[in-house]
Each structure stands twice: as structure tokens, then as C-alpha cells.
């Protein structure tokens, strides 16, 4: 299975839970959904349905194909005022 190197950044609660701001990951995950599932085994993350994902600074579908060198950010929704 193809492997790819991704840069992942964590915001807010995800940064809290992961304990790091960002990391590089060598992974077989081919989509943000697969990547999040893999990360959720390492960190106590919330359900992905409550989050948004951005690939290369554009909000993206959870099923988009990830390429080597992509940057992935998971962003919790905020509505407070």
C-alpha cells in the first residue's frame, strides 16, 4: 500500500488532546477520514462528524485523496460570541 508523508496541524481541542501543535506523519491513510481514524487510535479525539478538515488550506471533503506532502488541518466549529 502506498505511503505518504503528511504535515498535520492541530487547533484548539485537538491540540489539547494530541499534546502537540503539529507533526509530520508517514502514513498509509489515503483520505482525511482514514487519517483521522488512524490519529484517533493515538489520541482521544472527538468524533470526526463534529469537525471540519482542510487540505492545503482549503476546506475539503473527508473522502478526498491525499497526496505526498499535503498539509492537513482539523478545525472544530465555533459559534460563540
Amino acid at each position: 500500500m502506498a505511503r505518504r508523508k503528511l504535515r498535520i496541524e492541530y487547533f484548539a481541542i485537538l491540540r489539547d488532546r494530541a499534546g502537540v501543535d503539529a507533526e509530520e506523519l508517514d502514513t498509509e491513510a489515503g483520505t482525511p477520514a482514514e487519517l483521522f481514524a488512524e490519529l484517533s487510535e493515538r489520541y482521544p479525539f472527538p468524533e470526526p462528524g463534529q469537525l471540519k478538515v482542510a487540505v492545503n488550506d482549503e476546506f475539503s471533503d473527508w473522502q478526498v485523496s491525499l497526496a505526498d506532502g499535503d498539509s492537513v488541518v482539523f478545525i472544530p466549529p465555533v459559534a460563540g460570541g
Binding site: 484548539a12 463534529q50 482549503e58 476546506f59 478545525i75 472544530p76 466549529p77 465555533v78 459559534a79 460570541g81
Partner: protein, 249 residues
């Protein structure tokens, strides 16, 4: 502009990108701030002091003690008062030369649309998705620019939507079915100055829209994490099936 106005706003006028012309645009502008919590208090304070000619400030709620740390227009004497009225009284003290119109009611769709129709820019400083979706819909229908801000815990977000005819994205492209329960599980606390940071950003973006300066946040979400100081802006793609700005079938 009066002579005293020239002096008051001289530091704006000294900016080549604002100048006397930009300041006159601010004086001619009508701005609606919906929600006078941590974001709306801060944004309306800067907009009033910056010389926005007509400021409409809307909130149906009353001031309570938990508001005071971040809702900086209010002091302990305001407890129990309508936020819109307390805020208007305070803002008039800061800038007696502008018109400040308190709207201490819940604006339903029709009333909101009527109010927004007269505005140059709208600031969404509310605290729930239902209000945010309604404000976005009304601004999209009336083609009014919207500055949307949000803050919770150590987190801030901001986006600008121009709502030009036939164009997207809009707020609904960003949050379509966001789960409001998320904030419950992550906690409802907020660090007071984080709301102020976002409120200041919102005022800045509103002024830029009024004056005609470009915004880097048009159709993008700026996300800020005050714990690390990290921020980035993420492009919001237009949803083909967006019920608000999507192209007609």
C-alpha cells in the same frame, strides 16, 4: 466632516489608504452589529469611535454578571439592563457625534431583512448557529457584505462574505450542519481578551469593506488559537448544493 471631526479622526485621515475620503465613507456608513456579547461589545466600540455614521446595535438580552469580563461596554451598574440600551448609552459617551440606534429585541426574519436592507455592512456577533444561518440568509438575499466572527475558549474564527449577486461562498457553505453539541463537550468557557481579539478583527474588516480596501478573509475562514498564537486562513469552497448561495437548479 466638522473641524472637530478632522482632528478626532486625523490619525485615520493620515493613513494613505483611508484619507479624508475613506473617513467620509465611514461617516456615511450604516452598520448593523447583531449580538452585543464579547465580540459585539468590542467591535461596536471601535466602530463607534472610528466614526461610523450610523451604528445599529441589536441584542434582546440583558446584562448579567458573567458578561462583565469580556463584554467591555458594560459595568456593574448595567446589570439587568437591556444590553442594546446600556451599550448605546456607553457608546454615545465615547462618540456623541454619531447616531447610535439600540435595537433591544429579537429580530425575526422580516424585521432583520428590513434593517439589513439599509446597511452598508453587517457584523454577525451572535452565539448560535441558528442566528448565524438566518443572518447569512438575509445578507445573501439583500447582497449585503457580512463579517462573521466567533470565539470560545482560546479559539477565534472570522470570515468575510461579500454576497455579490450570483457569487459564493457564504456562511452556509462553511457550516451546513454543524453540531452545536460540540461546544458542550469541549466546554463553554472563554478567555475574555480572545473575544476582544476577534471583535477588533471584525471591526477592522468592516472598516476595510466600507472604505473599499481588499480583504484577505473574503471567502476564507481565519482560525486563531490563542494558546499557541497560531493562526491560518482556510479557503471556503462554494457548495454547489448550497441552499443559500448555490446556483439555481
Amino acid at each position: 466632516m466638522t473641524d472637530s471631526g478632522d482632528i478626532r479622526y486625523s490619525r485615520h485621515i493620515a493613513l494613505p489608504t483611508i484619507g479624508a475620503q475613506g473617513q467620509q465613507k465611514l461617516e456615511a456608513a450604516v452598520v448593523l452589529v447583531v449580538g452585543l456579547g464579547g465580540l459585539g461589545s468590542t467591535a461596536s466600540l471601535y466602530l463607534a469611535n472610528s466614526g461610523v455614521g450610523q451604528l445599529l446595535i441589536n441584542d434582546f438580552d440583558r446584562v448579567d454578571a458573567t458578561n462583565l469580563p469580556r463584554q467591555i461596554l458594560f459595568d456593574p451598574d448595567d446589570l439587568g439592563r437591556h444590553k442594546a440600551e446600556a451599550a448605546a448609552a456607553q457608546l454615545k459617551r465615547w462618540n456623541p457625534d454619531i447616531q447610535i440606534i439600540p435595537l433591544p429585541e429579537h429580530l425575526e426574519r422580516r424585521a432583520l431583512k428590513k434593517t439589513v436592507a439599509d446597511c452598508t455592512v453587517v457584523l454577525d456577533c451572535t452565539d448560535n448557529f441558528a442566528s448565524r444561518w438566518l443572518i447569512n440568509e438575509v445578507c445573501a438575499a439583500t447582497h449585503k457584505p457580512l463579517v462573521s466572527g466567533a470565539a470560545i475558549r482560546f479559539e477565534g474564527q472570522l470570515a468575510v462574505f461579500r454576497h455579490e449577486p450570483g457569487q459564493g461562498p457564504c456562511y452556509r457553505c462553511l457550516y451546513a450542519e454543524a453540531d452545536e453539541n460540540f461546544e458542550d463537550c469541549a466546554g463553554q468557557g472563554i478567555l475574555a481578551p480572545v473575544a476582544g481579539t476577534v471583535g477588533c478583527m471584525m471591526a477592522t474588516e468592516a472598516i476595510k469593506l466600507i472604505v473599499g480596501l481588499p480583504s484577505k478573509f473574503e471567502g476564507r475562514l481565519w482560525v486563531y488559537d490563542a494558546m499557541t498564537g497560531a493562526s491560518r486562513s482556510v479557503k471556503i469552497p462554494r457548495r454547489k448544493d448550497c441552499p443559500v448561495c448555490g446556483p439555481p437548479a
